[in-house]
Amino acid sequence: MPFIPHTENEINAMLESIGVKQIDDLFGEVPKELRAGELTKIPHGLSEMQMTQLMTERGAQDGRPVCFIGAGAYDHYVPAAVWQITTRGEFYTAYTPYQAEASQGTLQLIYEFQSMMTTLTGMDVSNASVYDGASSLAEAILMSVRANRKSKSKRILVPRNVNPTYRSATHTLVNGQNIELIDVPYDADTGCINLDALKAFEGEDFAAVVIQQPNFFGSLEDVDAITDWAHANNALVIGIVNPLAMSILKPAGQWGEAGADIACGDGQPLGAPLSSGGPYYGIMTCKKALVRQMPGRIVGRTVDEDGKEGFVLTLQAREQHIRRSKATSNICTNQGLVVTASTIHMSILGAAGLENAASQSHLNTASLVEKVCAIEGVEKVFNSASFHETVIKLNKPAKAVLDAMTNENIIGGFDLADNYPELGDAILVCATEQRTEKQIDQYVGALTKALSEV
């Protein structure tokens, strides 16, 4: 038992100090009938070596397929320094920085993170993360309902081209508070929201309008027009953004005349490995006026008794450990370690590095799309501008084609059938900056083959 550092002698000395005969006596208050028997379904312990062998086998079983899916999680390159420093014990094994003086490392880092998020999104303030992109949307919606002074409505306009699991998770998370999410249809040609669709809602009362930029199809919304429309209709604007895309796209804080009110999204593209879907982190930024409605931890810069600069958790009166049932949210543990990685990632890459990764991903996807659309029976679905992700349509059953492509060790795209049956055999594809020309050509080969065989 390498994790328990007690010798027999010590155990005896400790029991003696307590005044009991054996450890079990310490559980004397527990009713006998509640004592568990042997946990037969739990296997016997493994040594670290055996565990490593087992997981090496399990890993090998899954292999390392070449990935052309994005759909909310993107295979970007992360410099080696990022996780080597992030996993230093002092970052990796610290708790939430409750004792500020003994946590200046994490606190300053979060302050720097907040600064990076605000410049990237063009917003005024940022928190230290919520769980993920979906939960950031839910929290943003709850926040907008609390914050919108012009509307008492609990209704939120949510376009259908917003990430479908974000929509369903948000439903789960806000539903208890009687908040209603109203579908807004997308335009069949562009995949985007057009103002005509919104006009249908004019005159009604909404707390907020959600815009995802780029939207789930990778298409670029006319964020300026939608933002202005929302504000004209007394609704707040919640932008869901891809933070890497923010390095090249107009930041949410600059949308329309007044900018988005809240920008959220998933921080994964900034240094988090794909890792089967998490841990990532949810971005939450907003205008200054809304800061007291923001959930989650926030770090502020202040001074110590000697006037020396230092950092603390601040505005804690919003949080559950102070406000309990009246807190802005129940969130306590957030995604600190990934925030740490992300802050280091952004520091190493800088704006130029992010722009390079974004533009190269865009170029790779464009190249992929151009090449596959040259194949008979493959075409682009939407004619709008897009960023680094695109919907293509096949003339054969998408599921079967994607299955066939796995034989070439390729994950060919995300099948849209479950969420958007109206699109037919459509798949969402993405080639990040990590995809080489050779891999793109392999994709084209595998797709061609699959289409001919299926």
Partner: protein, 484 residues
Amino acid sequence: MLIFEHSKRGLHKRDTAELKGIPANMRRAEPAKLPEVSELQAVRHFTRLSTRNFSIDTHFYPLGSCTMKYNPRVANSIALMPEFAGRHPLAPEKFSQGFLGCMYELQEMLCEVTGMKGFSLAPMAGAQGEFAGIAMIRAYHDANGDHERREILVPDAAHGTNPATATMCGYTVKEIPTLANGDVNLEALEAAIGPQTAGLMLTNPSTLGVFERQIQKIAKMIHQAGGLLYYDGANLNAILGKIRPGDMGFDVIHSNLHKTFATPHGGGGPGSGAIGVSARLIPFMPIAGVIKDEGQGKELYRWANKTDYPQSIGHLSAFFGNPGVLIRAYVYMRLLGRDGMSRVSEFSTLNANYMMAEMKKAGFQAAIPDRFASHEFIITLKKQAKELHVTAMDFAKRLLDLGYHAPTTYFPLLVPECLLIEPTETESKEDLDGFIKAMVQIQQEAENNPEIVTTAPHTMPVKRLDEVRAAKQLDLSWTVTQAS
């Protein structure tokens, strides 16, 4: 110095590929003002920053209710293996059997060790586990047409996330008082229960560090009233392998895998608040869980979907929770194995009771002096505060100078001037003794030279920080004042 202050405009070369097809009006006009530093500058800055932290790897960190135990390094190296770290969440099953097999086994092990019938790994922290649990309770009542149950009972010793969660689920919260001996006040509970009761949230052992002896009675009372019982598993470390929440009568529980199962807290997270349910709540489980299909002599693992749980409360996240955390917890459980589980609770309880005994002998006042502690215990310094004007916070700050992270202060709220001390099973007697010695030293200082305590810490990178100023003169992000 901030990383931004090392930044030099013009250092990074842009090598941006053409942004084909993106109209100018959708583009960014000015680059984001991220720092421009060399890789060495970044590495040096963050390496140095890291050393301004206390952590498990550097310090004894007896933060009550937080279970700061050793985070095995092998769990990290396995989670970062390229096959796991590089796996896309939407990868087809063909490329997922190794990973999903682990997740399935993790569910099974969690069921076994908690006595629950089903487990979902979806929640991304304790609070989200609570949310999922309470949402399921609500879905259950709704499914029974039981719409009048609008209230959740919460003992006043509960963690703040409990009432906050109930609110988030649309419930009102009624607080139940706790007796001086740490048990729930049954009369008050009796009085509070009614047809409006949706359920009770309970931590056992409670945040007061004692086992709720009347749990079976409480469970009966709630169940008879038609309510359900929620177990806040933040303290599962205290009973792991010895007592199972399912056997106590709980209907739904969350387990903070990042506590009990030793995944790192990372300066704030990530966590996992995996939830277990009794049979009647299975249909309501969140998406996603892992299902094992057997057939044709082959096992096939896959993610559950809406059709598996038609009454599901739905998704909680964009994908499937925090698999990188789950892998670490899985590794930890497999390392411990069957017999290791109960050793966790035994030795964490031994450590806590030993510390309490020694501290009592040294003259400190335990909040509940006559009972055994669970894996944590409370010291109250109200005497010191009154007589010496040295508060629990002063003790906490002075501990930092002496090389120990402070215990949790001022929680639970009902004990004045308290320190909630949780040593965990992975700390050695040597370190426990060192901590006690430090406390004794501070007590002597408080008596003879109180200023050294009340103005502590003295050896940290900063002295006590002005929190009022922080909240009033909000400075939440760096802004360029001057280009260089």
